[in-house]
Point group: C2
Chain length 433, copies 2
Amino acid sequence: MAGLGTVGASVVRLLARHGEALARKCGRGLEVRAVCARDPSRDRGIDLSGTTWYADPAEMARASDIDVVVELIGGDSGPAEACVRVALSSGKHVVTANKALLARHGVELAALAEKNGVCLNYEAAVAGGIPIVKTLREAMAGNAVSRVYGILNGTCNYILTRMEKDDLSFAECLADAQRLGYAEADPTFDIEGNDTAHKLAILTSLAFGCKISAEDVYLEGITSITTADIEAADELGYRIKLLGVAQKTDSGIEQRVHPTMVPKSSAIARIDGVLNAVAVDGDFVGEVVLVGPGAGGNATASSVVSDLADIARGDVAPVLGTPATDLVDYARAGMRLHEGGYYIRLSVYDRPGAFATIARCMADADISLESIVQRRRAARGDAPGASTPADPQPVILITYETTEAAVKQALEAVVSKGVVADAPQMIRIEKLA
Amino acid sequence: MAGLGTVGASVVRLLARHGEALARKCGRGLEVRAVCARDPSRDRGIDLSGTTWYADPAEMARASDIDVVVELIGGDSGPAEACVRVALSSGKHVVTANKALLARHGVELAALAEKNGVCLNYEAAVAGGIPIVKTLREAMAGNAVSRVYGILNGTCNYILTRMEKDDLSFAECLADAQRLGYAEADPTFDIEGNDTAHKLAILTSLAFGCKISAEDVYLEGITSITTADIEAADELGYRIKLLGVAQKTDSGIEQRVHPTMVPKSSAIARIDGVLNAVAVDGDFVGEVVLVGPGAGGNATASSVVSDLADIARGDVAPVLGTPATDLVDYARAGMRLHEGGYYIRLSVYDRPGAFATIARCMADADISLESIVQRRRAARGDAPGASTPADPQPVILITYETTEAAVKQALEAVVSKGVVADAPQMIRIEKLA
């Protein structure tokens, strides 16, 4: 075991508590033979007597008395990468929770594992305790997948849920998430969507049999979402979620991470707080949705041990479902070709003709509007009528299905006409069953 | 392939469409070598050229040129059983969708498979396209499960959903379900809960490492549910679902199938129509919920092929998660010890003292009431006040957590006092996160 943080300690505890049952299920026991962590003297509340301590994870990965290396160090390079490479090269199975490493080097590491006839298992890397890797790789092996999408980051979902339920600002909810340990001191990686993008890139490869291409994920975080958007979504029958979506289109595969309007009636709209959910559309099975804890030491340990059990049982599957040498190149569908409905919030100067100008910009871009909501704004706490006619007023537009290019064109035109006070807000609407 | 009905034909179509991708994923091709069905001349819209036709499935299972038998005949004995026994005995892997067969002979067949070193896979037998068998057996292998529950019968869920959404009677919805092909001409097996019980018994074994014991499932169907119950549930913040629940308690394992009040806010409450959903509570992972199509040729075929892919890949796991020889006896927790909240609907004669009598019966059984709803009934379509004080009036009671024995005792007392016009209705409330 390389890395003995929260997840590592949970894995050790799990093996201690359920080791006997696991041995029956797998036909052989699982034993922690060696560990590698920064501070051997720290009390982690786990019994590590009889294990060999290593300072260097790569050195541990070379040891002749171990069969499997569990990499829980993290990071897309450095000691984690070295440890995994050494392990696979020396014919040892690897279990990892490291999405960053896989998003960057996954295909190459998969090839290395397959060349050496060993497993590289990573159920814990995507959606924590939810068995989405196993589901895509094995349970849905007989399906052509058309779309996989989900809520893959508990931090963002916690913030969006709190904003909605408690009418708080993004900043207030982020501070709460940090206080509760749901967000890092530097939350950038979560709230800007990078974490979701890494997970999505892995799911894309599993779903479509293509190479992992994390740098091709279209990325928008949740920092621009305001309570005004949340309220408007609510009124219009939507909730706002940070989704990762990978979808087959005529022009290739879209990979996108962005705040998304989802109908309140959809399963995904009801996933609250730090929960994760992943939905897969298969041509034979239809839609399957998995919901569960996306993070936390124990839930993640459950997935790590599931991977270990598969190895102990002798199940060697292609790392990414399809053998690495058969993975096709990722064919990126340009975001400008993305088709869907759009939510647009404008802050419009209340002047004669302003609305006609906006309507003209939409029509020029061939965009039809499903609904238009204009309401005189009353600032929070103010008495009605506190705003004056000269103040810019929010206007919400919901478009029928159109293209990203058309929306961009229309919004650029709106801005250039000088009728809006701020940059337009635009949130994509996901079509869900 | 033994049996070429809807599911069998879908399996053949799936293999034809995705055979190449599957071969890459599994490292070997899947080929339909022999089929066995009643009418070889019927046009099933599938290409079966090059396959050998057998009249007797057991004879086919003996053939030397096949590795795997897919049993889609159905039934807990007869040709299906013979075919599976012959296949396993002659060292052939078996994939089956036959819950009735497994519920009755599962442990014995598992032992036979394991003795012969072959697989007996049955993902399609429980919840159709949802990979709950794989999830329990493999993904959650590192967890002690405390409860598994779900909506396992699409017919019942369709009927209950229609009753609620369209304010129709049970009989009307059943007729609709039959017209739409969601219910059999003889719907008994579905609506009385037997089908759910079979599936639950299999899940119980997988979740708790015990022998299958379908005859120990406590069983109540949905035929007694009225629109009055559905309406009362709605008002009280619940929905009524036919759940199968297997739960560890101090006195053993409860297996029960009955109409259940679930909080509207729960994930399971929102599963509509013919969808299925299964939730598992594990000590490490927490709660994982899987939602998807519980029936249908294509969704079921997806699970059958997933089982085939596992076999092709060489993954041999214990049939019931734990090897058959290590399965412990099923320790039945008596229903009288069941603890939970209860919904009680009484038809009370509107006489002085009637309500005091009921309250006394509840108190005598140590039952505390969380809410009491009494409302003068206005028959559907009648003007308010159309009922007279002498008519029996509905009274709804919601109890705090109590025992089944206490509720039975209280209701017997209520009936014996002659204050109610009809047999009391009682629906259990499931505590859900």
